[in-house]
Amino acid sequence: METKKTIRVLIAKIGLDGHDVGAKVLIFWLRDQGMEVIYTGLRQSVEQVVEVALQEAVDVIGVSILSGSHVSIAKKLLKRIHERELDDVLVLFGGTIPKDDIAVLKSTGVHGVFPSHAKLEEISAFIKENVKQARG
């Protein structure tokens, strides 16, 4: 049986929101779960994030947004992901996201939405489950 490949995650801050401690807490957690995690730093554009995802061959892009701009950013991100043929990548959004927006985000193609009160365990479980599925 071939050795299980380590899951690679890109945690991204897109837009101008500078609150990144939640993103960093998640990074620590995912690393403790055995994943490889890359962090983009603040104020990234959608284009920059997708390029890093391509170069680093990540399985997951996790976007952290607490500024309320998640819907418009998600639309742009998913469009770009499609253009760059990265459709296999699991896309997660986390941050200050009102309940009504969860369905909106999912309709744009986001796979998992985790508001700031979500448990860390929920996020890592979701990644493990869905990355596995994506790889068949």
Binding site: G15, L16, G18, H19, V21, K24, V37, Y39, S67, G68
Partner: protein, 540 residues
Amino acid sequence: MAKKASETEVRPVVSILGTPVKCFYGPEDLPDFDYKEKLNDPGEYPFTRGVYSTMYRSSLWTMRQYSGQSTSDSTNERFKYLLKNGQTGLSLAFDLPTQIGLDSDMPLAEDDVGKLGVAVDSLDDFERIFDGIALDQISTSFTINATAPIILAMYVLVAQKQGVEPKRLRGTIQNDILKEYIARGTWIFPPEPSIKLVGDLVEYCNKEIPRFNAISVSGTHIMEYGANTVQAVALAISIAEVYIREVLKRGSRIDEIAPLFSFHLPIGGRDFNFFEDIARLRGARRYWAKLMKEKYGAQDKRSLQFRFSTGGMGGGLTAEQPLNNIARASIYAMAAVFSGTRSLNLACFDEVYAIPSDLAIRTSLRVQQILAYETGVADVVDPLGGSYYVEALTDEMEAKIGEIIGKIESDGGIVKMIESGAIQRKLARQSYAIQKRISSGEKVLVGVNKFKVKEEERDLEVYKTDPETINRQLQRLKAVKENRDQQKVENALQQLESAAGRGDNLIPYLFEPLTAKATIGEIIDTLKKVYGTFKEPTTV
């Protein structure tokens, strides 16, 4: 034997400093306690009991709720609503593009216009925010840092238009850029020129707007980032010293500038402990008084007074059972009052979800009014003074604040720790540690990991940003740009650039570009040519 058995049944408690907490405290916990030296009366050195002798008997704390809506007109409406409801000071929140010096029409700004506060592009927006509000009758607090010099210059220009002299303006401008590199990320330039701009504003206010708090060094964001309650205060003081040294090296005297410093400190949060929170603020007052007197040679009483406002921490509020947050905020508010806060804003019960609704903001204000008018907690100054427990804790907290600041200095200073990312990493790690304690249930959060109810509906009425906001703002900006004298704008920006190159105090050079309707983005772009931009350390 019997004694031993009962002792083993006692629930062990450890303070935030890691020391065991006893079941009760007595005279033996305060050996050689000298009232005059340790406490003295309120309003007297070392101000442990409070900076004023009569405190809330003369005037209540300022009840301020943070507010800033998407556009200048909706902000103006909200301000008028709050003033009508008995609020005594205004507090203005800006959207992210305004905070980091981007105009609403710049590419990176697109998704954030009008999202977390009001969008300000030019002086026009600012005039609309304060339309019909007499600036000599109110005090205004501005949560703004990297672009603080521009915002203050705009406020002065609006006042002048109303016929109000700058000398009569009251309020506070945050103007604390260093914590932005640690916690909130609204930096623009590298630390060095940013500290210089902080100094410019302090120096300018000292000369021209003496009743305005030119700086509010903030520990609240640092705490949201993972600092504990004592670290938040110690880091704020350490940062304040950087700014003080910056202004002193220009030739100002300590007694001219120290009175302009105020602090915004956290109360509550994930690590909240009622007595510890109060004790470290009492301890901080004593630490600051001694620091100013002994290290900086300050003599003016006002230099020695550690004046602070408090922010009831959103970080302690929960998405689960959100009405519980009203109870939490009430207790934070009471701790703030016992600490001798001069001003208080409380996080609102629905803030975990979005910008607070009118109902949530009003409820936070009512919490404060109930404390002030119904409970009697504001009748006597420092009512906990003399408590064996609180005084022992205050001594311990004061010593710890000194220890943390000493360690920062011996590690090369806070600026170096920010540039290398060392402090950011340390605090983020701490935040992770707290999160794990909550996940494991070791730290109880009611409604989250204990006393849970079955998955409840979280349908709160949350405030929504009007989607038309951006278009309206873009149209206004376009109109401003079409109707101004472009040559005048360029000349004014050219002069600003030269002044920045020479290292002059920049505040006087901001009035002309602003009057000519140069935008915040244009002013910041001009300064970037001289100062460069910050390179963020991204190692986690």
